[in-house]
């Protein structure tokens, strides 16, 4: 995962950095000296250079997580009913998970080209393992007495799934969703390598030009985004599982 690119690790002798000229402020300015982090440049350029990338990044992540969740949920429900399906799907998802990200992108480019679609295929692939495992574990952890009660009260299979099993499986599902989301936000920075945009773009640009502020800012934005998404999911989980916090004293 490529958020933490080491500063100034460009091969020595370091080529003279290509500093953007739009910094202004003369030769003594932070930008001209390529300082560790030029706060005012970042503030001035956030709207034009970072905000669109941030939005792209959120889109990349949301689509990957959405599709990943649908596939993993369907697979987990199938495996819940037909136990034999767990092992082959787990192996498949684990295999995808182990492919190095850059190699995966490079491989997929030859099939589907340099575009966002290619990036999403890779990103979705990385979510499957954790989402599938957690969803299946959640479904299996539903207390058997609740299932017996549902059956004895005349709930149909579908009603049992929607009203009993899925709500009770929610905590592990949400836990998986949090890990998958944070992982995907981090991984999605690499997607810029195949032209999918996102916060990876300014990181690559910054590395190429040696302009520290640019890749540092983009990296930090990716971290902040991951933390914010994780926080939102925690809040969502609390709202969705009010019973989990209410216990007899």
């Amino acid at each position: 995962m490529s958020i933490f690119l080491p500063f100034g690790s460009s091969p020595s002798p370091s080529p003279s950095p290509v500093i953007p000229t739009f910094g202004g402020g003369g030769a003594q300015s932070c930008v001209a000296k390529n300082g560790q982090f030029c706060g005012s440049w970042f503030v001035d350029n956030f709207g034009a250079r970072f905000a669109p990338r941030l939005v792209e990044h959120i889109e990349l992540t949301a689509i990957a997580i959405g599709i990943g969740m649908v596939i993993a949920m369907a697979a987990a429900l199938f495996a819940h009913r037909h136990g034999w399906f767990e092992t082959p799907f787990s192996l498949f998802a684990a295999f995808l998970y182990t492919v190095p990200a850059l190699a995966f992108f490079e491989l997929m480019v030859q099939v589907t080209g340099i575009n966002r679609f290619t990036a999403e295929i890779a990103l979705v692939s990385y979510t499957l393992l954790i989402l599938f495992r957690n969803t299946l574990a959640g479904l299996r952890a539903v207390p058997p007495d609740a299932l017996e009660a549902a059956q004895a009260m005349g709930l149909t299979r579908r009603q049992t799934l929607l009203r009993v099993e899925l709500p009770l499986a929610l905590p592990p599902i949400m836990a998986g969703l949090r890990i998958a989301t944070v992982t995907t936000i981090s991984l999605a920075t690499v997607a810029a390598y195949i032209g999918a945009g996102g916060l990876g773009q300014p990181i690559f640009d910054g590395i190429q030009t040696g302009f520290k502020t640019e890749f540092l800012a983009a990296g930090v934005l990716a971290i902040v985004l991951a933390l914010a998404a994780d926080g939102l999911l925690v809040v969502a989980q609390r709202l969705l599982t009010p019973w989990a916090r209410r216990r007899r004293a």
Binding site: P143, P144, D145, A146, E148, A149, M153, G154, T156, L168
Partner: protein, 339 residues
């Protein structure tokens, strides 16, 4: 007799529907197992009666119970509720019309008490207001009638309280028949005793037909109008608690009810059931007529007396009873009146 009529009207309103249930030569065999789990079970439970199924583990009592709502499919024979075969009713519909209470309680931890009780009513399309009203009414019936309780989650209640909610949930749509599979089996003895008493009181009000599975003979004696003792999938004896204790059909039943069956019978009778001697003035210990013979005997033993005074509801003496009278009443030819 206006007040009498009012009482009758109130009783009629609180009394729910009840239906007789009949096992007709019911058997259950599992493939690949030599011995049948249940063999030729053939008996009826009249409307409004509590019939206890009891026997050692593996005797088929739970299997028999679960064939009623088709959690287990019977291999042979038929079970009818109010004359209608359970096999002829669609499974979900059948189950929604039968209350089910079991040892693990099975409240839905993610639903509030109101939604737990309202599960079957909602499936049947009751309006929200009616579900809420019914949930509160049932909570009151099981002794948890605070309105806040509707919005609380099962995890906020003790085991005994959860089982009360479980009973309320089973009664949500006023089913004519309730199946109870060791409902108080996982609850501590003191709470269990209270739950049993409360449930009997509740049953006197609502008079549902109940099939009650237990492995505890004391519970069976206390709860059952009649007790069906099973062994190896067969019905060995079906009788009132008193008959069972006074005249076990065979050695197995005698063994199962215990060597102290004479003492157990003392619980089935109250001083009310005996013919009293005249009241004798002066210093005898006294007990109300509703006291069981067991407690009366205990009082005699602790006080070192062979006679006690029996008082009425108002506390006034109604007569007296002697140790000899109690001993005489327990002879094999004597039977307690049906409770």
């Amino acid at each position: 007799m206006v007040s009498g009529e009012e009482t009758q009207v109130a009783a009629a309103r609180s009394a729910g529907s009840a239906a007789p249930i009949a096992f007709q030569h019911v058997s259950k065999r599992y493939a690949g197992r030599g011995q049948a789990a249940v063999t030729d079970l053939n008996f009826e439970v009249p409307s409004g009666e509590i019939c206890v199924l009891i026997g050692p583990s593996g005797c088929g009592k739970t299997t028999a119970l679960k064939m009623v709502n088709r959690l287990i499919t019977m291999s042979d024979g038929d079970i009818t509720i109010d004359g209608k075969s359970v096999s002829g009713i669609e499974t979900a519909q059948l189950r929604r019309g039968i209350g089910y209470v079991f040892q693990q309680i099975g409240l839905f931890p993610h639903l509030t008490v109101e939604d737990n009780i309202g599960t079957v009513p909602r499936l049947l399309g009751w309006p929200k207001a009616r579900i809420r009203e019914r949930a509160l009414e049932l909570l009151q019936l099981v002794g948890l009638g605070a309105e806040d309780n509707l919005r609380r989650y099962p995890g906020e209640f003790s085991g005994g309280q959860q089982q009360r909610i479980g009973v309320a949930r089973a009664m949500a749509v006023d089913p004519p028949l309730m199946l109870m599979d060791e409902p108080f089996g996982a609850i501590d003895p003191i709470t269990r005793d209270r739950l049993q008493d409360d449930f009997l009181r509740l049953h006197r009000e609502v008079r549902k037909t109940i099939i009650f599975v237990t492995h505890d003979i004391d519970e069976a004696i206390k709860m059952g109008d009649r007790i069906a003792i099973m062994r190896d999938g067969r019905l060995v004896q079906l009788d009132t608690p008193d008959n069972l204790l006074a005249a076990p059909a065979d050695e197995f039943v005698a063994d199962f009810v215990g060597a102290d069956r004479g003492l157990k019978r003392l619980r089935v009778w109250t001083l009310n059931d005996l013919e009293l001697d005249p009241h004798i003035a002066g210093g005898l210990p006294s007990a109300p007529a509703s006291t069981t013979l067991r407690d009366a005997l205990s009082l005699m033993l602790t006080e070192g007396e062979t006679r006690i005074t029996v008082t009425g509801q108002d506390g006034a003496p109604r007569g007296s009873i002697s140790l000899q009278a109690i001993a005489a009443m327990l002879g094999p030819e004597q039977r307690a009146p049906a409770s």
